[in-house]
């Protein structure tokens, strides 16, 4: 069981990193818009590659 004395602090270290990463992501505005990204993937240019060359 004494392995826990190492594993738990390690887990807390990872936790701290996760919180830091999330705070950074929030601070850089990645969570400001929670609506558009969901629909953005289904939207695409309708220009097919060959049409694009023509233009």
């Amino acid at each position: 069981m004494s392995i826990l004395y190492i594993l738990i602090p390690l887990a807390l270290l990872l936790l701290g990193f996760a919180v830091w990463a999330f705070f950074w992501a929030v601070g850089s505005g990645q969570f400001d818009d929670l609506d558009t990204p969901a629909i953005r993937v289904v939207m695409d240019d309708d220009t097919k590659p060959d049409e694009e060359e023509k233009q």
Binding site: L12, G27, G29, D35, T36, M43, D44, D46, E51
Partner: protein, 797 residues
């Protein structure tokens, strides 16, 4: 005359008669209403974005139609302007631009993709909720003006924001709420994991050192949850105590604080039990509930920015002999500005020189141009119609009439409805009662079984937290408000939902509410046989194109128009001009040439004459809205009475009333009459909903139990309206009534649930049957039930 049945493929306005413009999209010719829309649609097609038209929601008619004159963007390329509107960041600059005229997610896709293809732009992100575009482009060589022009070419109204206007309080609030939620949830997960270990060890026997270690670690993780994630509860509880109005945050804070302190004490004295798991779970569920409520609140549309977008971007400042174009934000009192005909007025001020008339429809709802001479007041946001004028600025920005109005409507939006305030008041009594009960329980158990006294008191405090009770009403109202705004109804006064739900009589204003509000030509009477009806219309269109009078729009025609030489607008009379060597006049009967015999009073007439002789007259009528009959029928289906009150004459009112099967009609009413009619109905016990655009009758709207104003009406009316209907249709009315009834049903369910829950949980906890962790689950579950029940409103069709 049949009006065009087709609508513009791009902006959804009706295609004017005689306009045959089309655009080929997806191999089909689509009708468009004007060259501007044609250009936008072709641009969208040629950049390969035709799918925009499949993906978008149908716009309000006219949204997306480009202005007739291209705005001057090149001023934004000067170094001063770049410094004022962008923030340098390494090699690039970042600009925040408010994009007026976007209305759905497809718009943000269109903007992002089109701008993304422009040379130099490294990123373009649109937030469809706040209508803000964030643009990054290289520091050197890039032209902000070309990006703004692109947006304008797509039919939007871009407005660069200075950095201090770029961040909204909502964004800051949302960001910190998210961080708190994350800290609480991660902390809860960790502490729960340690708690499982501790409980398991209770049964299997435990190494005291390991137990101590797990408790220390739990303490370590709980600390940020209490001091960071739960801080809003402590501050709000303290505010409540300081203001002698204890809110539901007080027992929350006492429970969290007491359990935390007692657990620390138990940890360091190696006591029998710790409650870190209960603390973190409690904080997590509370934070989650608050977060959901906040998101619902933020979803309503950002109206205040929409209002400032009515102001121009730039103004021409006069200093001595020099004229400089400056951003409107840099104007100050006592500046002199030059305003050309057709331009919006950038600030409140006094007319210095020049004579003109202004369109103040936006502020007062008065559609007729208002004459102004030197010394008169001018209001920001109104439009200078006729001449070039100079103005001394007296007030700018938020101090202007427009700013005040937008602040008023903003405040109305954030004001808490009386219903919610009442619930809060009751909750504060309940809080005091709870604290009293908790003390009694603690005293009893202290004598009966001192070891369990603390645990049981803690459970009582947690389990009976009146969160569900306090959340019952606001959660339902917030969800209803957010759903209604998606259904194009903006609730500015929370009480409206309650009063709408028991409405019995819907009273309508006529002009602009049941009718379209903008007249169109309903008949042409030619008195001179030398001219055909078509000739008259074309000549009238050519003459009226020189005028900015609201009636002039009714004459607009597409296609080639004869050239008018020396056109002249005579204010209050009409327009004259020379076509093919003859002097034509259009306007009132006397001005056009006399010799007309008309008038039944139901319509407006405009007369056309040549060289002093009568040629034709046009009858202009205000048509009924397409969905007026359908909406009134469904309102009657919902059990509401319908009535019509109008300041218009008997014939006009009766025509409308007959067409819509309204029996209760009142005509030639002054605003005082209208108010008296409403009060009379209220005396009879009716709950009156007044629907009107509020031109000259803001007090009438205020007198009704609930008032609804269309968004295109007067801003002043909107500040006294409880609900604003966005879009150009009456159908949302039925939705509003149905939705409000459903909301009140949910509020009653929520209240009943909260009361039953508390009545059951309190005795159980006081009797010692509920351990703290179960109490935390029970309390959170009861709050979540309330929130989830309220969120059902989001699926309302």
């Amino acid at each position: 005359m049949a009006m065009a049945s087709e609508t513009c493929f791009h902006c959804a306005l009706p295609v004017p008669a005689g306009c045959h413009l089309t655009v080929d999209i997806e191999d089909e010719a689509r009708p468009v209403c004007c060259p501007g829309c044609k250009a936008v649609a072709e641009l969208i097609r040629d950049t390969g974005m035709s799918r925009y038209y499949e993906l978008r929601d149908l716009p309000d008619p006219g949204v997306g139609r480009p202005p007739e004159e291209a705005a001057e963007w090149s001023v934004f390329d000067s170094a001063d302007m770049l410094d004022a509107f962008t923030q340098p960041d390494g090699d690039s600059r970042e600009a925040t631009i408010y994009v007026g005229g976007m209305y759905c997610s497809a718009c943000s896709w269109l903007i992002e993709t089109t701008l993304g293809k422009q040379p130099g732009i490294s990123s373009a992100e649109v937030n469809p909720i706040t209508h803000r575009l964030r643009l990054r482009f290289p520091r050197d060589g890039a032209k902000l003006s070309s990006y703004l022009a692109t947006l304008a070419n797509l039919g939007y109204q871009p407005q660069p924001l200075s950095p201090e206007n770029a961040t909204r309080p909502e964004v800051t609030e949302q960001r910190s709420a998210l961080k708190r939620l994350l800290v609480a949830s991660l902390g809860m997960m960790q502490v729960m994991m340690f708690a499982v270990g501790l409980y398991a060890m209770d049964f299997q026997g435990i190494d005291p050192e390991m137990q101590h270690f797990l408790r220390l670690v739990s303490f370590f993780v709980t600390t940020p949850v209490v001091f960071y994630a739960a801080r809003p509860f402590f501050t709000s509880a303290w505010r409540g105590v300081a203001g002698r109005k204890p809110g539901m945050d007080l027992p929350v804070s006492i429970a969290v604080g007491a359990a935390y302190v007692a657990s620390i004490y138990a940890t360091f004295t190696r006591g029998p039990a710790v409650w870190f798991d209960s603390v973190t779970m409690f904080v997590f569920f509370l934070t989650l509930g608050r977060y959901l409520e906040m998101r619902a609140r933020h979803r309503s549309i950002d109206r205040s920015t929409a209002l400032t977008s009515l102001l121009p971007n730039t103004a021409t400042r006069i200093e001595g002999d020099t004229r400089t174009v400056v951003p409107v934000s840099q104007l100050a009192a006592n500046d002199t500005v030059l305003i050309r005909a057709g331009e919006p007025i950038p600030a409140d001020g006094q007319l210095l020189s020049g004579k003109t008339s202004v369109d103040e429809a936006l502020l007062t709802g008065e559609a007729r141009p208002q004459p102004r001479s030197p010394g008169d007041q001018l209001s920001a946001g109104s439009i200078n119609l006729d001449g070039m004028i100079e103005m001394t600025v007296t007030k700018t920005g938020g101090d202007t009439t427009l700013g005040t109005i937008s602040r008023l409507s903003e405040r109305a939006r954030y004001a808490r409805p009386a219903f919610v305030t009442l619930a809060d008041k009751i909750a504060s009594y309940i809080v005091v009662a709870l604290l009293f009960v908790a003390t009694m329980v603690a005293t009893y158990w202290y004598f009966a079984d001192p070891d369990r006294a603390f645990v049981i008191t803690l459970s009582v405090l947690v389990v009976t937290c009146p969160c569900a009770l306090a959340l019952a009403t606001p959660a339902a109202f917030a969800a209803a408000g957010s759903r209604l705004s998606q259904l194009r109804l903006l609730v500015t006064n929370g009480n409206a939902i309650e009063s709408l739900s028991c409405a019995t009589l819907a009273m309508f204003d006529k002009t602009g509410t049941l009718t379209k509000g903008s007249p169109s030509i309903s008949a042409v009477f030619v008195t001179d046989n030398a001219f055909s009806e078509k000739d008259c219309r074309v000549i009238a269109a050519a003459l009226e194109s020189a005028s900015t009078h609201p009636l002039a729009h009714a004459f607009a025609l597409q296609g080639p128009l004869p050239a008018v030489s020396s056109p002249e607008v005579i204010i209050g009379q009409g327009v004259s001009g020379i076509i093919d060597g003859r002097e034509w006049r259009i306007g009132n009967a006397k001005f056009a040439g006399g010799g007309f015999a008309t008038d039944d009073g139901a319509a407006t007439h405009v007369f056309l004459g040549v060289d002093g002789n009568a040629v034709a007259w046009f009858e202009l009528k205000d048509e009924l809205r397409d969905d007026a009959y359908r909406t009134l029928e469904s309102l009657r289906g919902l059990g509401l009475g319908t009535a019509l009150v109008s300041g218009d004459n008997r014939v006009a009112v009766n025509n409308v009333a007959e067409a819509l099967a309204i029996s209760d009609t009142h005509f030639e009413c002054t605003p005082e009459d209208k108010l008296a009619i409403i009060e009379d109905a209220q005396q009879r016990g009716e709950q009156v909903v007044m629907i009107g655009d509020g031109i000259n009758d803001a007090p009438v709207l205020a007198g009704a139990d609930t008032s609804i104003a269309p968004a295109h009406g007067a801003l002043l009316a909107q500040t006294s309206a409880d609900v604003i209907m966005l879009g150009d249709s009456l159908t949302p009315l039925t939705t509003a009534i149905e939705m409000s009834r459903k909301t009140m049903r949910i509020v009653r369910q929520n209240l009943a649930w909260a009361i039953v829950y508390n009545a059951l949980a309190l005795p159980l906890a006081a009797a010692g049957f509920v351990p703290p962790w179960l109490a935390a689950i029970g309390m959170s579950a009861s709050s979540l039930v309330v929130v989830l029940n309220a969120l059902r409103l989001n699926r309302f069709e």
